[in-house]
Symmetry: C2
Subunit: 141 residues, 2 copies
């Protein structure tokens, strides 16, 4: 990990390493705040600015992606394999989606003369967990 960072001209600070470890281990698509809270557990002196700066840096190196699926905050994803996302408007969780459409989309480099750099397919609704919870609540009445 130190090697990869240095190769890109970045310093391998313990804070950065922790952040990268966390991001590559989770599938929760955390917000900056989420990352901050998690790292602060094992690294109580870390500041939000450091987390924020690191996220920007990693975004610029292309090591993480910023998702705008959550209308309330930016979410981050270190899984760079082509996939889409489902956002639950109840619990705010973001799920990975692997589906057939991806095959069509990745070919597009230009549309209506616009230069396409990225394509995001976002599904929004109620996730399987929340769907079930709602069902249980209703039967309680």
């Amino acid at each position: 990990m130190k090697r990869e960072l240095n190769k890109k001209g970045l310093k391998a600070t313990p804070q950065r390493i922790e952040i990268i470890k966390f991001l590559s281990s989770t599938k929760s698509h955390p917000s900056a705040e989420d990352v901050y809270k998690f790292i602060k557990e094992k690294f109580p002196t870390i500041s939000f600015a450091t987390v924020y700066n690191t996220l920007i840096t990693l975004k610029n190196t292309g090591d993480i992606k910023e998702l705008s699926i959550d209308p309330e905050r930016k979410r981050f994803d270190m899984d760079l394999t082509p996939h889409d996302h489902f956002f639950c408007r109840k619990c705010k969780r973001v799920y990975d989606i692997y589906d057939l459409l991806r095959g069509y989309k990745i070919k597009i480099e230009e549309i209506d003369e616009h230069q396409v750099e990225e394509i995001s397919l976002y599904y929004t609704g109620v996730c399987r967990d929340c769907k079930n919870k709602i069902g249980k609540e209703v039967t309680k009445i």
Copy 2:
């Protein structure tokens, strides 16, 4: 227009009518601030809260859609025909995109057991206008 509003139990205030007129006449996918600035021209006493409240109301009645394609702010679209969007990261303009993928997407009501309510396909990159501008700037060097 008054009739449609009343039918939904909404009062047809002049402010609302102006906002709806503007939204249905533009393809610019304005932000709340954009709407406010535009309406304020002809309606100097209008407050931002009124614009904001109206946008929420229209979103709840399903008359407008909230786009999360612009990472910096929410954008609104009154064009309810099925279509997608392209976001230019240079000029921040949002363009409508009508393409083939739409046909596949609109059939999906459930994915991975999640209940899908909406599908958004967002393209991001540099639009045709900005692409050309950049080209001109480069040749000036």
